[in-house]
């Protein structure tokens, strides 16, 4: 469960990043990107808490690849702070997103195997 909490906190950080890194008003792509990706990260983290959807956090892997890819494709952008933020968040999310929701217990299939 802690991994989902960390993902949610990363989403919050990404949501406030435009203000921390002082994006100019005309950087519409970055404003929209931060808003959409932070919403997606939070959404996938929160719905993974619901047992039947417990593996949905893996969708955050796609978001992490997107964040890293943006930093590479837009490397000439003047918003270098924002791009470095993307790389750090992308790599961090890549590691957190593969941690299972119920990581402190044996996997559900093994628990079911022993209790059937």
């Amino acid at each position: 469960m802690w991994a989902r909490v960390v993902e949610f906190m990363l989403a919050c950080w990404l949501a406030v990043s435009p203000f921390i890194f002082q994006y100019p008003d005309d950087a519409i792509f970055f404003w929209c990107s931060d808003l959409i990706t932070s919403s997606l990260i939070a959404f996938f983290a929160l719905i993974s808490i619901y047992l039947p959807l417990r593996k949905m956090h893996l969708c955050n892997l796609i978001v992490s690849f997107y964040l890293i890819a943006v930093a590479y494709f837009l490397k000439e952008s003047p918003l270098q702070g924002a791009l470095q933020n993307y790389v750090v968040l992308g790599l961090l999310l890549l590691m957190i997103a593969i941690v299972p929701t119920d990581a402190d217990k044996p996997p559900k299939p093994w628990r079911d195997f022993y209790h059937r």
Binding site: L83, V88, A103, P106, P109, W110, D112, Y114
Partner: protein, 207 residues
Amino acid sequence: MKQIPLNAIPEPWEYNPSKWSQRVRIILVASVAFFIAVYMGLYQWRLIDSVWDPVFGKQSMQVLDSDVSHKITSWVRIPDSILGALAYLGDIIFALAGSTRRWHNRPWLVVVFGLDVIPLGLVSAILVFMQGFVVDAWCFLCLVSAVISLVLVVLAYDEVWSSLLFVYRVWKRSKKFSVVWDTFWGRPSKIAHEVGSQMARRRDWRG
């Protein structure tokens, strides 16, 4: 079917390499390296003016501002120290995840943890030691973090070994790729249970 206890001790060890006391040691050591790497990263981001070095003095800053360092930064888009900090943070994240029987029921997690600690740790340590010869300057904190990387390899290899041994024995027993694949990804099977039981049986468990 009798469940393998969470604190079962797998071959070839006299202790459970997945137990919390083992993993907390790794977390504490990796945390020290993480803070050292972040501190050097703050200098590379120019958020602090200098780097503390009681042995080599200003050579640390030469290393952190070297062409090699700038080259790595241009490849990975972030300062190399921050990349190192993320790798140590990965060690902490993967050490925190999983039960005390994860060598058996989540081999993939132990292997990912092993990949983060062992090859990455060895490569980063070799790069740091090479830096002295390529850049012709030494950095005390870089050397400390390289030594910590090697310590982490020693602390982490036992669990990885048990997991790989478990998966290998499942392969030897089943000779089926599908069974090994399922076992690796934490899906149960009678064979995986039996092999896990045999690995733990001789130590503290009678199945």
